[in-house]
């Protein structure tokens, strides 16, 4: 039950041109900024948005092929879609919601109800069967939405930011529940998210969409080690600069030169963890040669550390302890020196 889709379409300002692949049982985490085309991509796979050019192949069956004009309508696709705001039918009871996709098949009303009830039991929601969706909490409603999508027996499951509308306290339990139920689903899944933690926990593989194009794809670890764009670097909280490497030096776009012994020659991306960036009150002496001065632009507490943004020749983010931050007098507008050891710098072809 694998998916291969080449999608090309224009919708308003968005120009989507993406190829997406997912094996049976695989979860692809689709990440990207707002407006990057994530939701549109899902809608196109579901057949709810028309393709200009492309081909969608699910489990060997062609769902869309613009070269032959073939288009399988949404209701015949067996593609399940879970929306961010669950979209339960408000005029139906919860068990009727879950039974909806079962009844559109050839099942009788009673049979559909029995099966739906079983799905609710699996989700620990059997007690709510005859209630209206409005009586559920956000997390419960999202589980009913998942049960409704799964009950229709899809071959591909699309989840559009399933946790985004859930309040922080309920998010972790719902995430565990999602992982458990997705694990039992045999088809491919695509989860749209903008939370790297979610992408790592839910997805086997990440795909990054920017301006309608897939700019990077791989495991979370691969992306974290070598972020291919400022967005990916931001996602993992890393510093990323573009530059040109020659003979152990990388010249950044700003003109600044970094010592990077193991950089491949040519155009490179340079990534540095904010934990590897040391801040000093005065110009540091000794081994780290990669130092420059900047002005503190923002200071944000981040759990047990402080995230300091330094603007200067090269803008950089550093993570320092709260104690260090106050010792160095790191407040907005203060001057500080950033220093990075050459061995902490990862450079790779752009």
């Amino acid at each position: 039950m694998s998916l291969q889709a080449a999608l090309r379409l224009t919708l308003g300002r968005l120009e989507l041109d993406a190829f997406i692949e997912a094996r049976a049982g695989e979860t692809v985490a689709l990440v990207g900024r707002n407006g990057a085309g994530k939701t549109t991509l899902l809608l196109a796979l579901a057949g709810l948005v028309a393709l200009e050019r492309g081909r969608v192949l699910l489990d060997g069956e062609v769902l869309d092929d613009t070269s032959t004009g073939l288009h399988v309508p949404t209701e015949q696709r067996r593609v399940g879609l879970l929306f961010q705001d669950n979209l339960l039918f408000q005029h139906m009871s919860i068990v009727e919601n879950v039974a909806f996709g079962l009844r559109t098949g050839s099942r009788s009303k009673r049979e559909a109800r029995t099966l739906a009830q079983r799905w609710l039991e699996r989700m620990d929601l059997a007690a709510y069967a005859d209630e209206r969706p409005s009586s559920l909490s956000g997390g419960q409603a999202q589980r009913v939405g998942l049960a409704r999508a799964l009950a229709a027996d899809p071959m591909l499951l699309l989840l559009d930011e399933p946790l985004a509308a859930i309040d922080a306290m309920a998010r972790a339990p719902l995430r565990r529940s999602l992982i458990a139920h997705l694990g039992r689903f045999e088809g491919s899944r695509i989860v749209v998210t903008h939370d790297p933690v979610e992408a790592v926990l839910l997805g086997d593989r990440m795909m990054v969409l920017e301006d309608g194009r897939v700019i990077q794809s791989g495991t979370a670890e691969e992306l974290r080690r070598r972020p291919g764009s400022p967005y990916v670097a931001e996602l993992f909280g890393l510093n990323l600069w573009r530059g040109t490497s020659r003979g152990g030096f990388v010249t950044l776009e700003s003109g600044m030169e970094l010592v990077v012994p193991e950089a491949p020659a040519g155009a490179v991306l340079v990534s540095v963890s904010p934990r590897a960036v040391a801040l000093h009150g005065a110009q540091p002496e000794g081994s780290p040669r990669n130092t420059w001065q900047g002005v503190v632009a923002s200071v944000e507490p981040d759990h047990d550390v402080v995230r300091v943004r330094l603007e200067g020749v090269v803008p950089v983010t550093a993570l320092v302890t709260a104690a260090a931050a106050s010792e160095l007098g790191l407040v907005e507008g203060a001057r500080a020196w950033a220093a990075i050891k050459a061995t902490e710098i990862v450079a790779y072809p752009a």
Binding site: A46, E75, L81, F89, Q90
Partner: protein, 267 residues
């Protein structure tokens, strides 16, 4: 939107208050006059008169038929206008709303030209199916439907437009065909608006005068509805006209009270 009433102690400027008072009186006094001048003692006798009984029954039957016809034809058009982008859509919407502003008597004349005995379609209807609309009860239904339709279309289309179309998308991903989606998702969601539109259309059909008298004539028992009977009674004396008018007033007030939340959003 902020909605705030002024404090109770404050007084509005005098000219505004005076004109507003005149306006309220102007709207209220005719109703008061009807109630005061009503032949309360002989009301039962008035309603027992055959021509008045006939008008009441006919109005009820015909207005309900017109409401049903408006629902049957108006809902599909409202849906099409709300959901499909076809060439000439705004033109069709304009045409659908035309009876709202068109003088009903003009509507009656226009209906005559199409559905009258020598009209474009009327002749065919009579020759092929033996259906006569001019001067018949069926003709009254047609005239009332013509003026009532816009109320239904307007209400239902607005409701369909405000509906989140993603619910229909969700239903489609669950295997529902376009017809199932319409029947099980769209229609239940707009049911309140459907009810409101139907009540408005019914009230409009009940009060219809101009198109009815022009297109269907004024035949007691066949085409003489309450408003037409009021007009005829006026030539005889006031009592019958007032009795019939009271019926229409009571119905109108009931509709307004029942629908006050939908017609105006009061705080």
């Amino acid at each position: 939107m902020m909605h705030r009433a002024r404090r109770r102690g404050d007084k509005p400027p005098l000219p505004i208050a005076a004109l507003a008072f005149v306006c309220a009186l102007f709207l209220l006094l005719p109703l008061v006059a009807l109630v005061l001048r009503a032949p309360w003692g002989r009301l039962v006798e008035e309603f027992a008169r055959p021509e008045i009984r006939a008008a009441l029954l006919l109005s009820l039957r015909v207005s309900l038929a017109a409401t049903f016809l408006s629902l049957l034809l108006g809902v599909p058009l409202a849906w099409l206008l709300a959901r499909w982008d076809f060439p000439g859509r705004s033109f069709v919407r304009g045409v659908a709303l035309l009876p709202l502003v068109l003088p009903p008597v003009v509507g009656g004349v226009a209906l005559l030209l199409v559905l009258g005995r020598r009209g474009l379609v009327g002749g065919l209807l009579e020759d092929l199916f033996g259906i006569r609309l001019f001067g018949t009860t069926a003709g009254v239904v047609v005239a009332e439907t013509f003026v009532a339709l816009p109320f239904l279309i307007l209400t239902v289309e607005a409701a369909l437009r405000s509906l989140d179309i993603r619910y229909e998308d969700a239903a489609a991903t669950l295997g529902a065909s376009a017809w199932t989606v319409f029947r099980r998702i769209t229609l239940p969601a707009v049911l309140p608006a459907l009810g409101a539109g139907a009540v408005l259309a019914w009230a409009r059909a009940l009060g219809e005068f101009g198109a009815t008298i022009t297109f269907a004539g004024n035949l007691p028992g066949r085409t003489q509805t309450i408003p037409l009977a009021v007009y005829v009674e006026l030539q005889r004396g006031l009592d019958g006209a007032i009795a019939l008018s009271l019926v229409l007033v009571v119905i109108s007030l009931t509709v307004i009270v029942a629908m006050r939340d939908r017609l105006v959003s009061s705080p």
